[in-house]
């Protein structure tokens, strides 16, 4: 049974990749992931806000109240070397690389072009095999057009691509007016893969404290239908690889994603819920299904049911209620 696949130019032993999550903050977990059969690990994200926020915070607190009062011209010593910015993260990449043989994909998360993109170069130097660029912002400026937002995504990608020679994947949200056009723009700008789709913290109201608290909701299998549609549509229309993420909880979910065109399938919620070693169950399910259905290799499966490779391409274009109406007419 050949489970190998290629993703971002990397030869992976299977299509089972662990996506960015707090699990990868712990080196032992990364070892467990390898042990459980993960073919690559996307590390937890280094956030633009975190890098900039920490720099500003450190600067603010080391200068607050200084040079005001003759006896206390400063309140903190000046260390010779700050490891402000990505130092801790870079160290983590280095250690992860030492700890496991599988590829390590570093994740950089931000919303607008800026100095943070140059950390991609540091990632490469620290040994990352590839970079996953996670771009998302919540536009609230009523004067900003969709096009401007889309262009800023492309600009970020270009900045990162200019800084590194290792492959770069772009993780996206589904909220684009024309997903295919957006994918094409990123493809043209050099994206080596698109990762579809991101899940976000959503705000919730705390009725006791009357404050808004961010909530993380883990995905479920039905969530996989959204990426399924778009991967199927994009497969063959762009050069970039495609990675499926969101709602992949079983081996069958993974197989479906491979068949509609994903080069790899990514897991997060499933592992948070069931533990890292749940990956072995998934792999087992895939192998069993392939045996049962006489598939020899994963590569054989990939894209076999993409929009271009199915008899009725419109299946991916219609919305549900249309089907119902059509049925009724007949």
């Amino acid at each position: 049974m050949d489970l190998t696949t290629t993703y971002l130019g990397l030869n992976l032993k299977s299509p089972l990749v662990v996506s960015a999550s707090p699990l990868s903050e712990d080196l032992n977990n990364i070892r467990k992931m390898e042990d459980a059969g993960a073919s690559a690990v996307v590390l937890y994200s280094l956030f633009e806000e975190q890098i900039i926020g920490e720099q500003k915070e450190l600067d603010f607190h080391t200068t607050a109240g200084t040079h005001s009062f003759a006896e206390a011209l400063t309140y903190f010593p000046e260390p010779g070397e700050y490891r402000a910015g990505p130092e801790k993260y870079l160290e983590h990449i280095r250690k992860a690389k030492e700890a496991v043989k599988i590829p390590i994909i570093a994740s950089l998360n931000g919303s607008k072009p800026g100095s943070w993109t140059k950390f991609a170069k540091d990632f490469q130097q620290a040994g990352a095999d590839a970079i996953e660029l996670n771009i998302y912002n919540i536009p609230t400026d009523s004067n900003q057009s969709g096009e401007e937002i889309e262009n800023s995504y492309v600009d970020i990608l270009k900045e990162v691509k200019a800084a590194v020679t290792i492959p770069v994947a772009v993780k996206l949200s589904p909220y684009f007016t024309n997903m295919v056009n957006m994918a094409k723009k990123l493809d043209d700008a050099g994206a080596n893969s698109l990762v579809l789709f991101n899940r976000f913290y959503q705000p919730d109201v705390d009725l006791e404290e009357l404050v808004i608290r961010p909530q993380v909701q883990l995905s479920h299998s039905p969530n996989s239908k959204l990426p399924m549609r778009w991967i199927a549509i994009l497969k063959g229309r762009i050069k970039a690889d495609l990675a499926a993420t969101s709602g992949i909880h079983t081996g069958y979910d993974a197989i479906k994603m491979l068949m509609i065109g994903a080069n790899v399938t990514m897991f997060c919620s499933a592992l948070l819920q069931n533990g890292i070693y749940y990956l072995t169950d998934i792999e087992k399910e895939i192998v069993e299904w392939m045996n049962e259905h006489e598939y020899k290799s994963v590569k054989q499966m990939i894209g076999s049911m993409s929009q271009k490779n199915i008899p009725d391409p419109s299946a991916f274009e219609r919305a549900q209620y249309m089907k119902a109406i059509v049925k009724y007419k007949f």
């Binding site: 500003k56 450190l58 200084t66 009062f69 206390a72 011209l73 260390p79």
Partner: protein, 1194 residues
């Protein structure tokens, strides 16, 4: 010489730079203005910087300067090259060891940034009273004039001490030299190596105590031999001057800079000479050059080696032609026949003439005078006045210069307008706020100029005595020649006003020179600027033909992401219009400097500063100056015109920046100062102030409980009183049922509020229609200033609530008590002051406070104003500060005196019982005075007593009248910070709590030396980064409470108002009620923690919730009743301690500077807090005194 390296540094760094490189052990303790030397040493050691022999010196913080001296003594005895740094009271504490070190002929150099000793008042500034107090120790004393000399003399002193075996005090003037930044030539390590003789170092080591060649020192000697033995070392003192001169000569060969023990500058045939030492020599040198050009025959003799005083070299250095000499001492020795240097000079001449060794036959006319106490200005004009005095037939002796002595008429008149500075010197002054980064920018500017041009550069900074909204004035000079002007600028080419509010407060252009430039940061357009400038300033602009520029720096800074930090913006403007450097070159230099300074902190910081540079120039405009004054307003009065006379004439003048002009007669002779004066200074420093939403307020009292400056208060009162209320005065029905039918008002003092926002943080109410609003909300101050000031005035006129009916355990009622501590100079958002305010609310009218030196003594009593105030009856806290180290003992002294006088009074009441009347006498003697109404009634009884006793007229009755006040309860509160309680004053504190006496101790625990700028104390928690603990404090916080509890009869409480205010209140009430020693350890958040000071209470809550800070009370009264005295009042940790540590920069910094250490320390902290909680929990829940309990159950 091309290979010379120039640096722009201050005197402290210059001293530490060399001292660090030629020593092996350094014992330190913070004290202004010397703290920075220790900080440098600690920083370099932490960074692994090595001394000239390749070893990293061991730097050890001690618990006091006395401790540091002991450690130095020991280290020297054990053979290491050892040094220390200190000043003022710190030097006094070292004196006992200094006698020993000198008596044992031990080589060391003590580096002293000379500072005023506390007498009638404390002063952090510079004079020679400290070094003069140490001059009898047997140390050699070497005085440096300037930053360059500090660096040079440090190595000369180090070399000389090794050879002469005399220990050295190397001193320079506190602040004037220690904090003056100057471009100097850096001493190379190669020169240091050549100066430090290896054989002498070996000899030093061979004298060390070692069991391999044992000897004994420190014997006790008897009358038969001590005297002779003491005379054995004379040779070392006679040899020392030659040795020092030899090393000065060697140094000259190595560097080209030649020094003499006594250095004369002036006419070779001078008839008038002045003699002085340290920084005053520089303007004297400058003035002599000026006077020589005028044809005067004058000179200055600069004393370098003051002890041992080499009389022959001294006499030889002064031209024989001299007829008159003025000796200037920077100290005052009341009761002496003259100040120290004067007496030395007199004696030298007497010896020279009487013994005939000098060829002089007649002693010149010699007069002595005092100058420069507490960094008082010492200018060329004053120096000229000293020469003018010498011109008189009978020159004034025992004179003063620099002040107006209208009482004893000792002072010399001088011309305040005279400036002798060369036109080649660029002189710039910058008025900024501490928080806007002005000083930082100027420090950077002089480095840029120092490093990018051949110009010399000098920077000196004058700071405020307030910590919140502090004014800073920077004085910068640049010029092609060496700058000797060690005084403030009085004729500036450039003045910048970095904050618009200063325009109406200060006479900004008092010091502008003809044709100078004035730059204003203002929100106004070019057209609007002129009419917003006050009359006085407009007049000066027109008269002096001043060029006027403006920029909206706030706007530019905000647009660049810099918030309120205007530093880069204003710096760019300075370079753009001052012409110190070509504009393009200057901009490039600023940008290079930004990249260099901020890269460490990250690109984002670099980018926002670079952005600010680019944005500045396009927003800088020249303002056309009209020919006529058009202002309709002038500078504001410093205090209201109807303030009390002393406030108007003295305090107001100090506030206005005219304190230098006040004469001697203006001041009380013994340092006594009135309380209740802060109310007259309307600082108007808040951008935003809280405004009350009376509709939704639940009247809980929390906002005014936490207000650090007592600027938000509430009253309940009779509705009838609202008749004359201003139209915008708010009031609602009081919610408390016990005040039914009364009105309630929450009012802010708009001109005193600092705008910290802590009241908003604590407010528990949210507006139901808009949850971003609370029952108090911050709004811009300016539009409300006038109306709210009227409301505040009306509010103050309303009667206070009847204290005798207040339920003290109920915060909403207790907080109606008037604070007797208000509008202090503490930092915005201060965590200490709410505790002091609470103390004064509860007990202020019968409390005497002993206050340790530190933040609380500074915001409590730094002139001009005093925050402790009085109630309507004129009662309030009486307050004093003795020292840093003796506060507990000082407070105990209060107790002893009060108790003694109470005993005398009671005895006299007994004796006079028949005349007083039995009933009244018994009531007075037996009143328990446990609560407010008891105390109130006792006061009434004493009034009655006075009425009766006044008529008796016997000696006993008169004695009783002199002590009658002690029949009414007096409480002693001993207040101070953790530096005092845990470190320097711990021995005394321990003794005082062991005494069993009824004193209350309040430890304002910020877990760091806050006042001196954040050095670690034994209260600092594990992992906290502080100065002297750059790699994080490696040990756990000392458990002071546990140590106090060990006595069993001490009331102990650990509180955190921000975590549980009721608990804090309870602890204060119990401590006061306990008839014995009480100690409250109060968690005080602090700017030195690196936290958001607008929401600091959440830090206290996190500290308690994570177990980092415990809440408990240990009440011996309960033990006496057979119960468990220990009550643990905080719950088991419910958060990982990292959740707290990660919110404070003092801990987080370690994660970015030393991640591995941080990881380990955070882990250890978690274990520590868990174990400690278990232990306290055990103490609180164990069966205490089981026998008694069992007995009771039966």
């Amino acid at each position: 010489m091309k290979d010379k390296v120039y640096v722009t540094i201050d005197g402290n760094e210059a001293a530490a730079y060399v001292a660090y490189r030629v020593n092996e052990v350094i014992a330190i303790y913070p004290i202004t203005p010397s703290s920075n030397m220790g900080e440098w040493a600690d920083e370099w050691a932490s960074k692994g910087i090595k001394n000239i022999w390749g070893s990293i010196p061991t730097v050890c913080e001690m618990q006091s300067e006395g401790g540091a001296a002991g450690a130095v003594h020991g280290s020297l005895q054990a053979g290491a090259l050892t040094t220390t740094f200190t000043a003022s009271q710190g030097l006094l504490l070292k004196i006992p060891n200094m006698f020993k070190i000198a008596g044992e002929l031990t080589s060391t150099v003590f580096n002293i940034s000379a500072r005023t000793l506390a007498t009638h008042a404390l002063s952090i500034f510079g004079d020679h009273s400290d070094v003069m107090a140490a001059r009898t120790t047997g140390f050699a004393f070497l005085a440096a004039d300037s930053v360059q000399q500090v660096m040079d003399f440090e190595i000369i002193a180090q070399a000389s001490t090794l050879e002469s075996r005399l220990p050295f005090v190397h001193f320079f003037d506190g602040f004037r030299t220690s904090h003056e930044e100057m471009k100097i030539e850096l001493l190379s390590e190669d020169v240091m190596r050549q100066m430090m003789n290896a054989e002498l170092i070996e000899a030093h080591r061979n004298r060390a105590l070692s069991p391999d060649h044992p000897v004994l020192r420190g014997t006790a000697q008897n009358p038969d031999v001590f005297f002779q033995n003491r005379e054995t070392m004379n040779k070392f003192y006679t040899d020392c001057p030659d040795i020092v001169q030899k090393h000065m000569d060697k140094f000259a060969q190595l560097t080209g800079r030649q020094y003499q023990l006594f250095e004369y500058h002036g006419a070779p045939d001078a008839d008038k000479v002045i003699i002085l030492m340290a920084s005053g020599c520089e303007p004297a040198h400058e003035t002599i050059d000026y006077l020589l050009k005028q044809g005067e025959k004058v000179g200055v003799l600069k004393i370098r080696l003051y002890r041992p005083f080499d009389m022959k070299r001294f006499i030889a250095a002064i031209p024989k032609s001299v007829k008159k000499i003025a000796v200037l001492d920077r100290t005052k020795e009341p009761g002496a026949t003259g100040e120290p240097v004067y007496l030395d000079v007199i004696n030298a001449y007497y010896e020279a003439v009487s013994n005939g060794w000098s060829g002089i036959t007649e002693i010149p006319k010699i007069v002595g005078g005092r100058y420069g106490l507490s960094s008082k200005e010492f200018t060329p004009s004053m120096i000229i006045s000293v020469f003018d005095n010498l011109k008189l037939d009978k020159p004034k002796h025992n004179f003063t210069v620099g002040i107006n002595d209208d009482v004893y008429h000792s002072s010399l008149d001088y011309d305040t307008e005279l400036s002798i500075e060369s036109d080649k010197v660029v002189r710039a002054m910058f008025y900024g706020l501490g928080s806007d980064g002005t000083v930082g920018a100027n420090k950077n500017s002089i480095k840029i100029i120092g490093e990018n041009t051949d110009n010399y550069a000098q920077g000196y900074y004058v700071y405020d005595s307030k910590k919140a909204g502090a004014l800073t004035v920077s004085h910068l000079r640049f010029g092609p020649d060496k700058i000797r002007s060690t005084y403030l600028i009085n004729k500036a080419n450039f003045i910048a006003c970095h904050q618009t509010v200063f325009l109406e407060k200060y006479d900004m252009l008092k010091n502008i020179g003809e044709g100078g430039t004035f730059l204003i940061n203002s929100p106004w357009s070019v057209e609007e600027v002129w009419n917003n400038i006050p009359k006085t300033t407009q007049e000066r602009i027109i008269k002096k033909k001043v060029k006027l520029f403006t920029i909206d720096a706030q706007k530019v800074a905000e647009a660049s992401g810099m918030g309120r930090r205007l530093n880069t913006v204003m710096q760019v403007c300075f370079f753009a219009i001052s012409g110190v450097l070509p504009r393009e070159e200057a901009i490039k230099a600023i940008k290079d400097s930004i990249v260099k300074s901020y890269s460490r902190k990250g690109d984002e910081i670099v980018n926002m500063n670079l952005q600010a540079v680019d944005n500045s120039l396009e927003n800088l405009f020249e303002v056309p100056v009209p020919n006529t004054v058009s202002a309709t307003f002038d500078l504001s009065l410093p205090v209201p015109a109807d303030s009390p006379e002393f406030v108007r004439n003295v305090i107001g003048e100090i506030i206005a920046g005219r304190g230098d002009e006040l004469p001697v007669s203006a001041f009380p002779q013994d340092g006594t100062w009135p309380t209740a004066t802060a109310q007259y200074e309307r600082r108007n420093i808040a951008f935003e102030i809280p405004v009350w939403d009376e509709e939704i307020c639940i009247q809980c009292g929390k906002c005014f409980m936490v207000c650090p400056h007592a600027t938000i208060r509430a009253k309940v009162y009779d509705p009838a009183l609202l008749g004359n209320a201003p139209g915008t005065f708010k009031s609602v029905e009081a919610r408390d049922k016990e005040y039914a039918g009364m009105k309630y008002t929450l009012q802010v003092a708009p001109e005193d509020c600092t705008g910290c926002g802590v009241c908003i943080e604590v407010c528990p109410v949210k507006n139901k229609s808009n949850t971003s609003l609370k029952a108090i909300n911050l709004v811009p101050q300016i539009p409300l200033r006038e109306s709210e000031a009227k409301n505040w005035e009306f509010f103050l006129s309303l009667p206070e609530v009847d204290r005798s009916n207040i339920k003290l355990s109920n915060i909403r009622q207790q907080q109606l008590q008037r604070p007797l501590f208000e509008f202090s100079g503490a930092c915005s958002g201060c965590g200490e002051t709410p505790y002091i305010k609470l103390l004064t609310q509860l007990f202020g009218d019968h409390t005497v406070i002993a206050n340790a030196t530190g933040c609380s003594s500074i915001y409590g009593a730094n002139l001009p104003t005093t925050p402790y105030t009085k109630n309507a009856e004129g009662r309030g806290p009486a307050w004093s500060n003795s020292l840093f180290e003796d506060n507990a003992e000082f407070g105990l002294g209060y107790r002893l005196a009060i108790d003694k006088q109470k005993d005398i009074a009671r005895q006299l009441v007994n004796e006079l019982k028949s005349q007083i009347g039995n009933e009244l006498a018994e009531e007075i003697l037996n009143s328990p005075q446990k609560d407010e109404s008891d105390i109130f009634n006792q006061r009434k009884r004493v009034e009655k007593l006075v009425e009766i006793v006044s008529k008796i007229g016997s000696p006993e009755s008169k004695r009783l009248l002199s002590v009658k006040d002690y029949l009414v309860k007096k409480t002693v509160w001993i207040v101070g910070g953790d530096g005092w309680a845990y470190d320097i004053g711990y021995g005394g504190l321990d003794h005082v709590i062991a005494s069993g006496k009824n004193v209350n101790i309040l430890v304002l625990d910020t877990e760091v030396y806050s006042n001196t700028g954040g050095q670690a104390s034994k209260a600092s928690p594990l992992s906290a980064v502080a100065k002297f603990a750059m790699k994080g404090k490696p040990t756990n916080k000392k458990d002071l409470g546990m140590m106090a509890m060990a006595y069993g009869n001490v009331y102990v409480a650990s509180v955190a108002m921000g975590a549980k205010d009721e608990h804090t209140l309870k602890a204060f009430l119990e401590a006061e009620a306990y008839d014995g020693p009480s100690i409250i350890i109060a968690y005080s958040h602090c700017i030195a923690h690196g936290i958001d000071m607008t929401a600091p209470l959440k830090q206290q809550k996190l500290a308690v919730d994570s177990g980092q800070w415990l809440l408990y009370r240990y009440n011996p009264v309960l033990a006496a009743q057979g119960g468990n005295p220990m009550s643990l009042d905080s719950k088991a940790p419910k958060l990982p301690v990292a959740d707290y540590l990660n919110t404070e920069n003092r801990f987080k910094m370690l994660k970015v500077s030393h991640p591995e250490i941080a990881k380990e320390y955070f882990k250890q902290t978690q274990t520590f807090v868990e174990d400690r909680y278990k232990f306290y929990d055990y103490l609180a829940n164990r069966r205490f005194n089981p026998e008694v309990q069992e007995e009771e159950t039966k």
